[in-house]
């Protein structure tokens, strides 16, 4: 009996593994034992058009190239355009007030240390075609679908 259960488990595992292997093969476009040429790297979207946020708390994506923009203890390139005082010249949107808040909700005079490393939250987008289709649905469209019913 125990032998049978163990055999079954192995069978299940094996079939799961082969299913997984097929899945992987479809994602990377080749069997797991092959090493196909990597797809060319997709370029960074640099259209300078601000993107719609998928939900209100989302850090907006960066609509411009950030090649070689240094962010470390010595300097922060992003703030040369996005800081409060820089926006007059740069015409960039100012970092929002949440960036000045410490974790107690106190407003500091300048960007809070926990918001200093911008690309911890903000990322550029690339022109790559997604390997798996995204089924995320915006709350707005869910609500209007429900309302229509």
């Amino acid at each position: 009996m125990r032998g049978f259960a163990a055999g079954l488990a192995v069978l299940v595992l094996l079939s799961w593994a082969s299913a997984a292997e097929e899945n992987i093969a479809t994602l990377r476009g080749a069997a797991i034992s092959d090493s196909p040429d990597p797809a060319p790297m997709a370029g960074v979207v640099n259209k300078d058009l601000r993107q719609v946020r998928n939900y209100p708390e989302q850090p907006p994506t960066i609509p411009h190239s950030i090649r070689d923009y240094q962010i470390d203890l010595r300097s922060n390139k992003c703030l040369t355009c996005h800081s409060r005082t820089a926006t007059g010249e740069s015409q960039a949107p100012m970092v929002s007030i949440t960036h000045f808040m410490d974790r107690e909700g106190q407003f500091l005079a300048s960007v809070s240390p926990r918001r200093y490393f911008c690309n911890q939250c903000h990322v550029t987008q690339s022109e790559a075609r997604p390997s798996i289709e995204n089924t995320f649905e915006d709350i707005g469209s869910i609500l209007s679908r429900l309302r229509r019913k």
């Binding site: 300078d48 070689d68 010595r74 300097s75």
Partner: protein, 198 residues
């Protein structure tokens, strides 16, 4: 005195044995030596004006050169690149000599160890960078403009941020390249207190 008489006098003066060498030999020798030294000087100048020379000392190779490698001035789609002297040494001869003289101070820095380790270099970096900014500010970013000519920039092909800034501040002469494009080739030093960086 006839012309021939004058020529003969001069001729004999040149041929007349001086203490050890004839004047003609001295003049000619001086001339040749002049060429040789001038050539050697310019040759040394040219030799020291190559990237290979700049990065032959480890301070430059391990810090600034390493950093340059990832940037657009080292690797890009067109394969045109900028070498150290393209950005750091003026093209005209007099300016070049002036910069070389200043560079000797940096060599001093090497031999007496003010920048001999990475930590020391990092500490000196702000100072060195400020010299370069001041120089480029004073010459209206001449070295950048040797390659990038505003007159041939097609703003319609540039990104929106680039064309707007160039249109507002560069074309009007209000700012120069280095005011906005710091740290394009190397890592920046501590920028606290420097205008525009907060």
């Amino acid at each position: 005195m006839s012309f021939f008489g004058f020529a003969r006098d001069v001729g004999s003066a040149i041929r007349r044995p001086s203490a050890t060498f004839s004047l003609g030999f001295l003049a000619f020798g001086g001339f040749v030596a002049g060429i040789v030294f001038w050539g050697a000087f310019n040759w040394a100048l040219e030799l020291s004006n190559t990237e290979a020379f700049c990065v032959s000392c480890h301070e430059m190779r391990d810090n600034v050169f390493e950093e340059l490698k990832g940037t657009i001035h080292y690797t890009n789609r067109s394969g045109v690149r900028a070498t150290c002297p393209d950005c750091h040494v003026p093209h005209e001869w007099t300016n070049k000599i002036a910069r070389k003289t200043a560079a000797t101070k940096e060599l001093w820095g090497k031999f007496f160890g003010t920048i001999s380790t990475e930590a020391k270099f990092t500490a000196m970096r702000r100072e060195l960078a400020r010299h370069e900014w001041a120089r480029l500010k004073a010459n209206d970013s001449l070295e950048c403009r040797n390659c990038h000519d505003l007159a041939f920039m097609d703003f319609t092909l540039q990104g929106k941020r680039a064309s707007e800034q160039h249109d507002r501040f560069l074309a009007s002469g209000e700012k120069t390249c280095i005011d906005c494009h710091r740290g394009i080739a190397h890592k920046l030093p501590d920028m606290s207190g420097i205008e525009g960086w907060n």
